[in-house]
Symmetry: C2
Subunit: 401 residues, 2 copies
Amino acid sequence: MHAEAKVLLVGDELLEGRVSDRNLAVVAEALSSRGLAVSEARVSADNMEAVSRAVREMLGPGVLLVTTGGLGPTDDDMTLSAVASTLGLPLVRNAAAEGFVRDRYRMQGVPCPSGALVQADIPEGSRPVRNPAGVAPGIVLDSLGGTVISLPGVPREAAALVGPCLDEAGLAAVGQARQAIVRTWGIPEQELYDLVRREGLADTAQTAFLPRPSMVDLKLRGPDSASAARRIAARLGRKAYAVGEWRSLEAVLGGALQERGLMLGVAESCTGGMLGARLTSVPGSSGWFAGGVIAYSDRLKSSLLGVGEDLLAAHGAVSEETARAMARGVLERLGAGAALAVTGIAGPAGGTPEKPVGTVWIAATGPGFEAALANRLWGDRDAVREGAVARAMGLLWEMLG
Amino acid sequence: MHAEAKVLLVGDELLEGRVSDRNLAVVAEALSSRGLAVSEARVSADNMEAVSRAVREMLGPGVLLVTTGGLGPTDDDMTLSAVASTLGLPLVRNAAAEGFVRDRYRMQGVPCPSGALVQADIPEGSRPVRNPAGVAPGIVLDSLGGTVISLPGVPREAAALVGPCLDEAGLAAVGQARQAIVRTWGIPEQELYDLVRREGLADTAQTAFLPRPSMVDLKLRGPDSASAARRIAARLGRKAYAVGEWRSLEAVLGGALQERGLMLGVAESCTGGMLGARLTSVPGSSGWFAGGVIAYSDRLKSSLLGVGEDLLAAHGAVSEETARAMARGVLERLGAGAALAVTGIAGPAGGTPEKPVGTVWIAATGPGFEAALANRLWGDRDAVREGAVARAMGLLWEMLG
């Protein structure tokens, strides 16, 4: 049995500042759903010495070590060589692994290049696992009283392979640990922290605060965490959009729209499509999302949404009046049942003393309601846009309550 | 002087699978621009013991250790306590740091809560650095013949503070190392690898391949890397969009549009706004991006873009004909000078034997050209959408060549 898990992310690109890792979160989540916590993670360069040293330091009795990266067909893919040499094993061409590689090319109707077969050379004694999202198989290898699982570095392949590899390693899914979550939007971290302290929760449950622009997740651990989460959520009203589960705001909002039989339309200026992109990241969003207009230029705000040129001239594109007119334009011109509009100054240029960078107006409208929200968001262009998307979704979710 | 850099990412959330780190890439990039390579990175849990152990194992003579996370006002923010106790230093209220915290609240016109001032308690002897994007100051501390820099975990704050902290630590910017980059779109990694081998480059330069959906970056190291990069780029034509620099495809495309005085409009179905969001992530994009239509429903494809209902019925929403009609609709109805249209099946549902998940049609049109590109993209919903955005931008960039 495994007492702890460790993760080794292999890739020069991760240490050189050009790519952000996305695999640790996915691997940790998969391990956690099988009752195994990650005690440590490291990032290693793409070379034999660095990977060998990390494997040597991290692997031991009771340890499940998951590596990501370096399984492809090119010369910089040397994770399996390093694992094999560290554990004193030869690399051998594995017939099952070769079958997986050849099958993958056959499925795509492409001849299998001979260079691709190096992906079937794996440490002696390891078990290959078919890659449902790519070519390189994953491997599972018991050694030194622990287990090594090696996954490809491409995030969608690692995500697709981690479950099958954990199955192969004999880790079954278990019940969730005693923890609870409250997901919030539009409340500053400090304010949420003060609320949690006033509720006297610091004593009864361990807390953690995970902030993103205009959203904070509050995580509670301990035997009372579920009731504490419900108590805090009750205080927060519609500023808490998920309690006890990790559903996203876009999925929660989509569910509320679908329940009410409303098709949502959006009008986006400074977010440039990011609100639509976030909403349509939810599978099945076509059941409640109709589409929208990216009205980046003022001309399109008028021609596609019917925002009056006189209104734009009098109040400016970033104003409550324009946001409301954009939302009404979505209802009228797109025939949507509910609408969201966002207009603001994302920066770095375009700010003025009256309307500095971070000024964003949001409007939401639907059956029986029309609301507008003024925002002064902190941070850079990305943070302002992300915050605006979060608050737009939050406002509509609040109005549907 | 520092011989190497190490990075310690602090945060339970990173080990628990709920959040992906975005700081390592930013910190590594900043270090690299000052001539310092990251030899190792680790992720540590949010507790005194784990952080102390990591600091003890990683810090030493000639080492610059950058930590991120755990500088906020709440109880789970204990990085500075762990650093101080590991190095045998007390935490003391620092007057300059207190000024930074108070200034930040004053700027926002909000009274400073007394709880916020714990962010001014820093290890004795460390220098605080003002946080331009948030409250908690960064710190720089020389110890054990090396240096510790501690940054907040919120990505936009870490990004804003890393430069000022490296300045405070005395690391000046240097010339780029001898490496070159070729950024490509629409070429499979294996094909690029074969091309590099045929060019005999494996001998003269170290190579690395960094894949994302429908994009691969080729990185070359060594004294001949710049000329090798130019040689490969010449073979690739417009499939290479940046050579020797890390410009993004959206920025390159925007530059090409602006040069030609063209305003771009988009029509998005399966990408739901993601193409517009990516284009408008470029500061100043209003100079070449007009806006677009998120035509997620077929009704909007007809009403906003003028795609004929008979055409939709005859060929389906995911077809060359519909993609071309959407692009023409953008030119005619939005008055844009160039247009991109994307329509496809992102999954997980909606695929058929004839048009499986991953089938995406892209059309690009502008002065003197109209092109359509069929795509069969691998991967999950996110990968298909990301790949479609990359190929849409690539197709237009190719047509503008």
